[in-house]
Homo-oligomer: 331 residues x 2
Amino acid sequence: MSTSGRLTEDRLIAKFFAPFAGEGAFGLRDDAARITPRAGHDLVVTVDAIVADVHFFRDDPASSVGRKALAVNVSDLAAKGARPVGFVLSLALPDDWREPWLKEFAEGLHHAARVFGCPLLGGDTVRAAGPFWVSVTAFGETPAGTMIHRFNARPGDAICVTGTIGDAALGLALRKYPLTEWARDMTLEKRVYLTDRYLHPQPRIAAADVVRRYARAAMDVSDGLAGDIAKMAKASGITAEVDLRMIPFSAAARLALDADPAQIDAIVTGGDDYEVLCAIAPENLDAFLAETKAAGVSATTIGRFCEGDMLPLFRDGSIEKRYEAGSYTHF
Amino acid sequence: MSTSGRLTEDRLIAKFFAPFAGEGAFGLRDDAARITPRAGHDLVVTVDAIVADVHFFRDDPASSVGRKALAVNVSDLAAKGARPVGFVLSLALPDDWREPWLKEFAEGLHHAARVFGCPLLGGDTVRAAGPFWVSVTAFGETPAGTMIHRFNARPGDAICVTGTIGDAALGLALRKYPLTEWARDMTLEKRVYLTDRYLHPQPRIAAADVVRRYARAAMDVSDGLAGDIAKMAKASGITAEVDLRMIPFSAAARLALDADPAQIDAIVTGGDDYEVLCAIAPENLDAFLAETKAAGVSATTIGRFCEGDMLPLFRDGSIEKRYEAGSYTHF
């Protein structure tokens, strides 16, 4: 029964979400959505949830949380070479949910949906004890049979990543420990840059088409570069060698590393980069790098896949290491 | 980082879910799934979450919870006239999750997936404070443009429901209050029947094709018959009249009503029926009833839609009532 002063699920949806619904959502007046992939296309489906106190802080701006819920999924689509088509969401509202918070959340989500070209198609909302919980299932399209997997890398393939690595991990550390030693001399501008990279992932949609045409294997870097390279290598039945000095860093991350070189481990095992990691056959490498650049996304070669079943090797000159834990995991 | 003795997400997926994955899931070794609807078909998408202490009891059998998570979604697909194609799930495991429970949950889910012809395609798992939470996004297929909506009912259309109404609401009441007065003389067999109807929804997949060919509007009855008829009427811009004496009841529900006629309100506003509610044009009614019967599903006419914007009217002889709250809601 609807409790005093609270919106019912139907009114909540009509008020906050229906105005933002895309075609195929029927104004959220139906209890299911319709997706009609273009002829000759496959649908790529990904699902990722974010939870208060695990994936975001309760005092993060609600609009940023809304944006992140969609961004982490669109990032997966981009890494599969897919063009976003739309999404559905499943919300759990905690007992102390407030309308203004939810309004801001919906606005952030809607803004992201417009920017990413990925409209809301439907959803489900329940109230439940526990933290705020949102799960997004996102849909993308590729020409039939061209979805890029994470398990087809081959020995000799170049390991490439888009953008820069480690900013979000450093941003999260700054968020938790603003007085951390390595940031003592950092300008406010660079601090903001790093925390923004944590708060507002930038899915590499612009690179999706190039990834689809050139990558042998691809996935997004969300659980830490070392762990994600290990996953791709393992799924492909091989291993990898990475040159730590070739990993692309932002100016802010470079400063942090200059102040404390040991931060490299946090950077390589931290998460939330939301860059694309891919395996590129040597004969396609030049074209891949040129075309990602032309698409407005930087891409860098950081190593290569090779035969073997060990954990990937990370080299810095004569220093070699393997990251045992590898991947940040919430378990 | 993986904590002592606990499975990482990857191992958990590999152990409990990968053996059950369908085609397009790539053995859950990828981070996205692929769906290729047949040429000339639309994809119907629905999402519904179930949460411990809200939609099920913590001491319900884990396999029943797994089954229910999928069943409530497949029920939506059937009511849209869609054939199940597959599903993805998003799991939140509470701090005190246990492997044997999750194993049983996965087995119940898998068994349901086989029975419903709706294989697992992918998923996401996080550990989070709060209750066990599972959200399923399910996919179905209809010939292009034939998905049945809940908003196209017209004045004069017959209101039909499949199966029997109220069993799950009575089963839930028995689950909570085994000594309830109306069940005093009820046999164990009938008690088990009612609680089973609560615990194990039976999505009307067998009726989907007939619904798609004959219904003007359709939805599943999940939040209570009165509320769901009100939703369909409102979405269609009309109202409805229902004859309470025509609502189909099981022998067990009939016994409960004989013992306590006031239970009719609990039956009509209770939830979890997971039957199909639909609007059938008068000229199609005979064919609809004959063909649902031929498909092995009973269907009953319980009233008709009509002009107006009031809440639907429920009649029992000279007694007339409208259900204000109408629909059970968790808000």
